[in-house]
């Protein structure tokens, strides 16, 4: 039996079928409902859904990754967020958070395809694989009903779609080392991510991804001086006063030049700190050592506003990545032990853009190469010095692009 950490899962509903088309694919674990006993090729573990959850952190509160369509009356269009940029449904933030809450445990995304779309295009499935894998999780592969029927009937289009899913899955399994890379961030979100703070803290993480603002997740019980190292700012999404230990940690962080951004309910945290101006009449600054505390003047109600203000309070001069013409993407920037950088870009539109994407990374890398799911050899990219970092121009890509940087 394969170790749970190596399971590559496919969820199969309670229907009888031959799954011989799984042969040769990377899938090695079939997750079934209690009574189902489909005929599987040899070498595939068949496990009941109820037996999985003790060994794997399964996220059920998920979305099917995509750019959602908004229906207004008789018209349909791309849903947009407060900035006018397209909204995207992604599970990236909750994958990251679940890993922090379940250290060492594999994380699976349980997201089923929409039931009203017929057989999905292969790109939609590649997106589901990438949306989980980029953020360190695995998508528990789940096929739409038409695709399942097509596979059972040996339909060529269905088999081609399945081949694409298998290819994307295999690609990320072959890049397992990337999961060990750490997120490059100068901004942290500190919370218990539970109870009254759960919704706001989660939405902030989600919106940080939309703003290309990489973050470090700091759980209040485990946050310490080491976990804050290298950060410029910490957003405290916590309505109640931090305990004495955490107050000390944050005090030291500010003393050394860091910025702590806190809600109005924690205004008493200022204690004897000196007022140091304000930001846009929305936050009051208080100085502490070489750093500052920024206290919101009004209670936080709008996650977008909280995230946007936090980004500006941290300042874009601390951006570690920037992208152009990339409105329907999220991106994750990580770095390996050897110093190599990796930016993975996921395009939720599953189509190439009108204008091609450019990427800035705030590090003077010397080389860059584009790695694609297709298995083509990596393509070298020209690296252009820009400020303290570099820019690269990317060829069109429908779903996913990885750019590996070297010094």
């Amino acid at each position: 039996m394969t170790k749970p950490s190596d399971w590559i899962p496919l969820h199969w509903p309670d229907e009888s079928a031959s799954l011989q088309w799984l042969k040769g694919s990377p899938v090695n674990c079939l997750v079934v409902d209690e009574s189902a006993k489909p005929a599987t090729p040899a070498g595939i573990d068949v496990v009941a859904m109820s037996g999985v959850e003790s060994q794997v952190a399964v996220i059920r509160k998920t979305k099917w990754p995509r750019v959602p369509v908004a229906v207004r009356g008789k018209s349909r269009g791309v849903a947009t967020g407060p900035t006018g940029a397209p909204w995207v449904d992604s599970n990236g933030w909750i994958s990251s958070l679940t890993q922090v809450k379940n250290p060492g445990k594999p994380v699976w995304i349980a997201a089923d395809p929409p039931t009203d779309s017929g057989m999905l295009r292969g790109e939609a499935y590649s997106l589901a694989v990438a949306d989980a894998a980029v953020y360190g999780a695995r998508w528990m592969i789940s096929l739409d009903a038409d695709l399942r029927k097509g596979l059972a009937a040996g339909n060529a289009e269905a088999l081609s779609t399945w081949k694409g899913i298998a290819e994307a899955t295999r690609f990320f399994e072959n890049k397992k080392q990337w999961r060990g890379y750490h997120t490059v961030a100068k901004f942290g979100v500190l919370s218990d991510f539970a109870g009254a703070n759960e919704y706001l803290a989660g939405e902030v993480l989600n919106l940080c991804n939309r703003r290309y603002l990489p973050y470090r997740i700091l759980e209040q019980t485990s946050a310490d001086a080491k976990s804050l190292e290298g950060l410029k700012a910490v957003l405290l999404v916590q309505q109640r006063e931090p305990d004495t230990r955490l107050q000390h940690v944050l005090g030291e962080f500010m003393r050394d030049g860091g910025l702590v951004i806190a809600p109005a309910s924690l205004s008493h945290m200022t204690g004897p700190m000196k007022p140091a101006g304000n930001f846009e009449e929305s936050y009051d600054y208080f100085s502490h050592g070489a750093g500052r505390l920024a206290i919101a003047r009004k209670p936080w109600t709008d996650p977008y506003q909280v995230t946007s203000d936090a980004h500006l309070l941290t300042s874009r001069k601390n951006d570690v990545i920037r992208l152009w013409n990339a409105g329907t993407t999220n991106a994750r920037y990580t770095r390996g032990q050897n110093g190599s950088g990796l930016v993975q870009i996921v395009n939720y539109a599953t189509r190439s853009f009108g204008h091609p994407v450019s990427l800035y990374v705030a590090h003077p890398y010397k080389s860059a190469k584009l790695v694609a799911i297709s298995g083509q050899p990596p393509e070298s990219l020209d690296v252009t010095s820009r400020g303290e970092g570099v820019e690269v121009n990317l060829p069109p890509f429908p779903v996913y692009a990885a750019i590996e940087f070297g010094d």
């Binding site: 407060p82 006018g84 300042s315 001069k317 920037r322 152009w324 450019s358 020209d382 121009n393």
Partner: protein
């Protein structure tokens, strides 16, 4: 790929030499004959070292900067249209649709040297109230280098109330083509000298966008934007100016007067040029600078289909925005006397003519003195590039 300069103040200052003479600001005069003023043209093929001496020479040709700015508070409207994370292909915004930071920085340094007391960079960035510095950084600009280009440089986002307690009221002559009054951010009032640094571009709605059309963006979207409050201005701007100004499908916030003729045309090609002419007559431009070194043809931003990069390699400056834009239009290969139906105004009215009607300046090339490079030598046919 283009290297964005990250200048220190010392570098800006060393890039410029002594400035002599004085510019003479032109005041709009109402009357039968619109005023004229000379316009300087120069070839300039890059934003590198050649830029500062060329700009300095052009200011000298117009009479020098010091009499215009010495001891004065200068407000400069720059053009950062669209979103900072949008590009035409791989080209950074400043090589396509934004005024280039080197042109802005050189202007700042020269104005500082000419004795400007305070210089404020102004823009109403699309759909937000972010500090202007942050907006620039999103496009990968080094905002600090601009703030350090001269003493006492500041920036303000004018897309909302900003640092003031109330909006400033501006009244165009003759009751205005479109509105009797315009409510703007205080920065457009709290200055002695107003400068428009524009990009030389075609414009999908107004035909061309130069120093006058650049000022379309001085209207705050909290009042004139899609998300403006019905009664009171919104606190923060959202959306563009499509519904209030382009299509007239809604009125501005009630703090500002409704349009003069609520039953008038709803066509952007009619409305936008009129609003622009009103604005520059109500808030006169003392110095117009057109960055035509690198630009785009067939539209004003990457969101317009069919835009193409162009390298006209030219700078145009003048103290009258109508004469400066008329000469710039001629440099682009257009006839500034053209009216609706003729290029570049096939689908719009001519802002040049509407501004002339307000008595701001003449568009008649026979009445405009051109200094430096001639129009013929500088001509870069935008329409030919558009045709490919």
């Amino acid at each position: 790929m283009h290297q964005c300069p990250g200048y220190t103040r010392r570098q800006w200052m060393s890039a410029v030499t002594a400035t002599a003479g004085a510019l003479t600001a032109v005041r709009p005069v109402l009357g039968a004959t619109p005023p004229t003023a000379p316009v300087a043209i120069a070839r300039c093929n890059s934003y590198g070292k050649e830029l500062a001496p060329i700009m300095e020479k052009m200011f000298d040709q117009l009479g020098g900067l010091s009499r215009l700015v010495a001891g004065k508070t200068v407000a400069i409207k720059i053009n950062l249209t669209g979103s900072p994370n949008q590009r035409m292909g791989y080209r950074p915004a400043e090589l396509a649709h934004w005024t280039h930071p080197a042109v802005i920085g050189t202007t700042l340094a020269l104005m500082g040297k000419a004795g400007a007391r305070r210089i404020r960079l102004l823009e109403s960035p699309w759909n937000n109230a972010d500090p202007l510095e942050e907006y620039m950084m999103e496009a990968n600009w080094d905002a600090a280098s601009l703030l350090n280009a001269a003493a006492h440089v500041e920036m303000e986002n004018t897309n909302y109330l900003g640092n003031a307690k109330k909006y400033s009221v501006f009244i165009p002559p003759n009751g205005g083509h479109m509105f009797q009054q315009y409510y703007l951010n205080h920065s457009y009032e709290d200055c002695d000298v107003f400068v428009s640094i524009a990009k030389m571009k075609d414009h999908a709605t107004a035909g061309i966008t130069l120093s006058m059309k650049n000022c379309f963006g001085i209207t705050p979207c909290t009042i004139y934007g899609d998300g403006a409050g019905r009664d009171e201005p919104s606190i923060k701007p959202s959306g563009g100016r499509g519904s209030v100004i382009h299509s007239g499908s809604r009125a501005p916030s009630k703090i500002a007067p409704a349009e003069n003729d609520p039953k008038g045309p709803r066509d952007g090609g009619y409305r936008v040029p009129r609003v622009v002419a009103d604005l520059i007559a109500a808030r006169p431009i003392h110095l117009a600078i057109i960055d035509g070194i690198e630009s785009m043809a067939n539209g004003e931003g990457p969101w317009i289909k069919g835009v193409v990069p162009v390298s006209p390699g030219v700078l145009v400056m003048g103290t009258n925005c109508v004469t400066t834009d008329a000469v710039s239009a001629a440099v682009m290969g257009y006839d500034p006397m053209a009216d609706r139906g003729r290029a570049p105004f096939e689908t719009s009215d001519s802002t040049l003519r509407l501004a002339e009607m307000h008595g701001v300046g003449t568009r008649d090339l026979s009445r405009i003195e051109v200094i430096g490079t001639s129009i013929r030598e500088a001509r870069f046919d935008f329409r030919a590039r558009r045709r490919g």
